[in-house]
Symmetry: C2
Amino acid sequence: MHTRERCIEADLVDPLAPLRQEFELPEGVIYLDGNSLGVLPRAARARSLDVLEKEWGVGLVRSWNTAGWFALPSRLGDKLGRLLGAGDGEVVVTDTTSLNLFKALAAALRIQQVERPGRRIILSERDNFPTDLYMVQGMIDLLQQGYELRLTDDSLSLQEALSDDVAVVLLSHVNYRTGTMYDMAATTAQAHAAGALLIWDLAHSAGAVPVDLQGADADFAVGCTYKYLNGGPGSPAFIWVSPRHQARFWQPLSGWWGHNRPFDMAVDYTPDRGIRRFLCGTQPMLSMSLVECGLDVALKADMAAVRAKSLVLTDLFIELVEARCASHPLTLITPRDHAVRGSHVSFLHPDGYAVMQALIDRGVIGDYREPEVLRFGITPLYVGQTDVWDAVEILRDILDTRAWDRPEYARRSAVT
Amino acid sequence: MHTRERCIEADLVDPLAPLRQEFELPEGVIYLDGNSLGVLPRAARARSLDVLEKEWGVGLVRSWNTAGWFALPSRLGDKLGRLLGAGDGEVVVTDTTSLNLFKALAAALRIQQVERPGRRIILSERDNFPTDLYMVQGMIDLLQQGYELRLTDDSLSLQEALSDDVAVVLLSHVNYRTGTMYDMAATTAQAHAAGALLIWDLAHSAGAVPVDLQGADADFAVGCTYKYLNGGPGSPAFIWVSPRHQARFWQPLSGWWGHNRPFDMAVDYTPDRGIRRFLCGTQPMLSMSLVECGLDVALKADMAAVRAKSLVLTDLFIELVEARCASHPLTLITPRDHAVRGSHVSFLHPDGYAVMQALIDRGVIGDYREPEVLRFGITPLYVGQTDVWDAVEILRDILDTRAWDRPEYARRSAVT
């Protein structure tokens, strides 16, 4: 039987609890949306002033070399790689997840064009994060080469959809809505057996669940740094390319940062021999520099401990909601099976939008996703069992009192 | 006859001189590289702390709406548009110049595919900024539709290269090396008369010289905010699309920020009806927010006054170098004709690399560009006549004493 007292006791002996002090969390808030935007690392203030005043203000253009700006996508990429089972020189931090997906897709299609010509299907899931599907649609429309996007209705139907016309598979490792997680190694093997290359979107995985790209024999991976990695709002994304693919393709967003010798100012593009060929244009240094503050905290934690705590907390959240809000129309859409669960928990509720507004008003910040999804991100670096207990109690109170049923919580149309 | 005293007197009555106080310039530095990386606006420190501590730290995910993050590309775009002769809703600040060029090129090629099918030439200059040419090469390689990049040797041969197979022309308004400026209206008319669409790269124009995109009947323009606009290292770039083209093409980097209703999470991409369809993924908010600090200073200045001062200063620089360094092998490659001069001045010197290192060591920061080019950016918002005088005296001294002829100034290979 869970009690608040037991939650407090558990937090006291939680080996990851001290890491919470590395972040600045606002008073009166239980933050369960770290899978949308991570929190502010304490080190970020000093780092941002350093970049602003010393590197930019005083160093000025010299800082491209003296402050290591030009090398930063690789230096951060190497650090991030340690969380992903990747070696040095295999990851760069750059651009956005959408753009990195476009680069990976172009590379994968071109490799297949050579190795398995004629394959024209790009396979993904209907429930994949929409921007991933939009980028595929943009690519197909651009190429005019007869490519088609095939969408499966769920992960179970992936195998049957993997016919011999599939060139590339594009999957989110952890689904943004349900939190369902693929077995990366098994699914990669499945795609390879069908002659397809696979691009993993790690947006909801990096820093949240153990990832072993090399161990899974993966091909390509992209993801973002502003969720579980706490890089800051819209901080640059990342791309990993297996060393066996890196040098095989000139990705088409071939800006000067990807050039082998960018400052030669040569007329012809010659790609860098390694992962830097996946760079394009000049990167936003202030936003990129702060990625390191979040990464450094993540690297202090043992990923096995993070995973263990994540499962304890998500179990707790599910059990408490089901026990204490049992009379309300909540439907769990996150897997109960640990093996296929990421680090967030989602429940459907017919008035999900209004319920989430009421929760946010009471200081429990999760988020709402269409349709009807209440989504709660569980970030072991700064969330504890007492937070989970308190959040569920507030949810229970809102549901019991119908506090969500107010005009100001009614759904508005567009967020813009 | 120029003297230092006359320069001091001129600075005292310079109507733009007070704007220098809006920036933090390091002690002991004469900064003539604002065309590579602009300087730090005083307002940026407070703004960055605000974004960091209030918007990110406290507002967290709510700030996408409450702090206007999601609207920022448009809000900044509208402000920037005033410097470019563009209306509201015609510019977004987003991504990098290279990426925005790719979007514009894809759009222009698609329009031509419909209107003037069969045209397969993309025309540019051999001396265009390399990344522009690299992006074209990437696009051609990706499309596999028989497109070719044709390069002219200079702007004079543009007319003869404008044959009836040219689909798109891609030009830098102000050349990054020589500072040569095109007549935007005349050149656009020339391209249109030949049935071609024209993409302008305004990297060395925006904030430096008067630009009137609507007046020139231009098609597409891209550019960066970190040079004359003082947006910060690698701050997000911009794209302008003529309203007559905006809704005609689904640009292929079609991420969710360009969707008509991004938070509906629909499976199918439906582009925004206006300029926001040229957005792609989530933007780096810290770097993007600071763009406003530089823009706000630029908007305080009358662009005609900026242009007048730029010409006075570049004239002064040319005259002083030619008078006081006459015995040295310096060759002016920037036009003397005001009508075709941007806001920087370049001289060739056979030992240009070493000379620039010696200048930087003495606090005169310009930059070196292959081959042999000493490049000096003249930024009227914070450079005065006395700065120009002092810079040329230091150059003269370095040349007279051969202070550049030291091993530590010898050229190294790659900057990386």
